[in-house]
Amino acid sequence: MRRAMVASALAVAVAATAGACGGDTAGEGQGAANEIEVLYKVEPTWPHMEKVLKQAKSQYEAANKGVTIKLTPVQGNNEVYYTKLALLNRSADSAPDVYLHDTFQVNADVAAGKLAPLDEYLGSWPDWQSQYADSVKQAAKGPDGKIYGVPISTDTRGLWYQKDVFAKAGLPVPWEPKTWADVLAAARAIKQKVPDAVPFSMYSTKPHGEAATMQGFEMLLYGTPGGTLYDDAQKKWVASGKGINDSLAFINTIYREELGPKQADAFNPKLADKMNLDWFPAGKLGISLDGAWSAASWKETSTKPWPEWTEKMGWTAMPTQNGEEPGAVSMSGGWVMAMSSYAKNKKAAFDFISVVTNKDNTLTYSVGSGDLTPRKDVAADPKYTAGNPSVKFWTDLASVTHYRPAYEVYPKVSAQVQEAMEAMTTGSQTPEQAAKEYADALPGVVGGPDKVISAP
């Protein structure tokens, strides 16, 4: 009997400890109304957001005594960041109050009710009316028409080329390709005349995640006649069509003719760093299909500055397939500062967002990261364009840019695209086979055969 009592006493003690643990977290949660937790990503080569948030933290805390900002960095690339954020967001206890959010993930979180609409706060924030263009405001608009994030960056995509490599290959500078064939011709010329350089580099494998889909596939697809992933008129996903086949065929040509990076590099998650920090400065890469932000790798704010870049590098728009109107194509995305629906002190959380996205901080961010700014006053600031002659070009690409159909299922569609691209990279399938596989898989991904159509 005595032992039985000991046992039950122990059980009670354990239960009490467990209960106490639970109590602790709850208590911490309640006490945190005066603490705003901010989640963001940081990489050794990408310290820009951290810098801005530290600046914003000290500004905010100086003005608002009693509220502390807790900065929680996630070490790693975008893919790592999305995963970490999704896991933290599963419970109200662990969800950050404010976070840096990729616009293409916004709708999925709106559908799950994880994000708080900002409309009531934006109404009393004068900057929202005066500094953000209407197109920019759409960046984080939910299907319900409410705004779920304040943009901190936007971007456009196009081609970078190395002028030394072009000179050696006997190609004209400035280079203005009018069709895909022009791009391939230049790559072939580089392969022939500059054998130690990678002629053309793009992201085409799963390790690059959304970058492969957007900078790679969509930059091709949206340049084909009528090419799109989603038919806005019919509100259906496009499962097949000539545009998809041709885009895959382009990627296939790049790798089968060995115009692209070697397989090992194509699969290297650090390909972007190799391209921008190593290959371009060393004259070992001819052309890259990338985005406005690449310049950040060469500016003096970078970990490996390359001051000569303004003379050595050229930039031009990605042409449409056969030079169809408007002659060029670009894709745009961007990042917003968003607020969790679990945030306990929403007013303070929004106030902090408005500090992060004010003119000074947005400027610091844009100058550092090379991302295009969503704010009119920053765009007009001479510091924004100083030291980066390419900014005007990238900003002007907004006239031909497209936005992703960032609906809730988009990340899964994107995954299917990456699968097809990877098959082109390794050569495990022909473009037709991969296109067929994409067409077959799509209905299951977007929720049924009635949600897809096929384009001519």
């Binding site: 046992a7 059980a11 354990v14 995963t83 993930q105 999925a108 998650p269 995954a415």
Partner: protein, 309 residues
């Protein structure tokens, strides 16, 4: 495992009436000290396991509407899985990986090293042990980094082979061989230690008697040593198989499952589905299948090496 420890206290002629109470007392004797550990295990192991079994029958995701309103979808995840070519591919690779690196690689190599060490001097043994165990002691990621440095394009192996003109990107031309080798290198120590312990229990006079009877080394091994260490072989195989089935870190850090899906074993595919594409329900369903496979392997071993209880 500890069944035997309870028996000695039992008295031969104890009256029948005292039995139940005594038994309860004995149960309490081990239950009480174990209780805290049991409670913790139930909370932190059984709980998550049961949860993952449950969600493998739902459409649970990590983001999007289904992350808050998941519903029961029966065996849909399993139906999808067996129609999924990538899953089947990962499944085959998992088998190749387990058979190649655990059953053949670690197991035989471990046994061989243990056998060769028998009767060697103290210095030899501590040097060999030190080297082999060192590979086991380093963290998985460090082991992966070492092998990456060895096999990568500008790595040691290519530098060595450079003169013969066979240098290539091993991690891309032969990713499965690379991960199998790395895992053998890292995991052999465990088998070696198990077998060293088992071999030290083989009585020397038995071997001596056999050699007096004219048995060759091979025959002595086959008919004396092997039957005596059968139990150790069984437990070693079981442990390393289960460990290897779930291997993730080494492959993830070395090849990331690539190129393409060429080295994407089921744990990697599971991770990709669950945490890259946020299909946690689907990922859990795969985990469940993997659990069953682990059970099947154990059964096969139990049948193959008949151990009398």
């Amino acid at each position: 495992m500890t069944v035997t420890t309870a028996t000695p206290s039992r008295l031969a002629g104890s009256p029948r009436g005292g039995e139940p109470r005594r038994r309860r007392g004995r149960t309490l004797r081990w239950l009480v000290p174990l209780a805290p550990a049991l409670v913790l295990l139930v909370i932190f192991m059984a709980g998550p396991i049961l949860w993952s079994v449950y969600i493998s029958f739902t459409n649970e995701t990590l983001t999007g509407a289904a992350s808050v309103n998941s519903r029961f979808i029966g065996v849909d995840n399993f139906v999808k899985m067996f129609g999924d070519e990538d899953f089947r591919n990962s499944f085959v690779l998992t088998f190749v990986f387990v058979i190649g690196s655990a059953v053949i690689g670690q197991n035989t190599l471990g046994l061989m090293i243990a056998l060769l060490q028998r009767g060697r001097g103290r210095v030899t043994r501590s040097v060999v042990n030190g080297v082999v165990v060192a590979a086991w002691v380093v963290p998985e990621v460090v082991a992966a980094a070492c092998w990456f440095a060895f096999l990568s394009e500008e790595g040691t192996l290519n530098k060595l082979l450079g003169g013969f003109g066979v240098s290539q990107e091993w991690l891309f031309t032969a990713p499965m061989i690379a991960v199998i080798l790395a895992n053998v290198w890292r995991g052999t120590a465990f088998s070696m230690l198990v077998y060293s312990a088992a071999l030290s229990d083989v009585p020397g006079d038995l071997l001596e008697a056999a050699s007096v009877d004219g048995a060759t080394t091979w025959r002595r091994f086959l008919h004396v040593t092997l039957p005596l260490i059968r139990r150790s072989i069984l437990s070693n195989l079981m442990l390393i198989t289960l460990q290897t089935l779930a291997a993730f870190g080494l492959i993830y850090a070395l090849t990331g499952g690539g190129p393409g899906t060429a080295s994407q074993t089921t744990p990697l595919y599971m991770y990709e589905q669950a945490f890259r594409y946020f299909e946690i329900g689907y990922g859990s369903a795969m985990a469940l299948v993997l659990l069953v496979i682990g059970g099947l392997f154990s059964l096969v071993y139990l049948r193959m090496i008949k151990v009398d209880a």
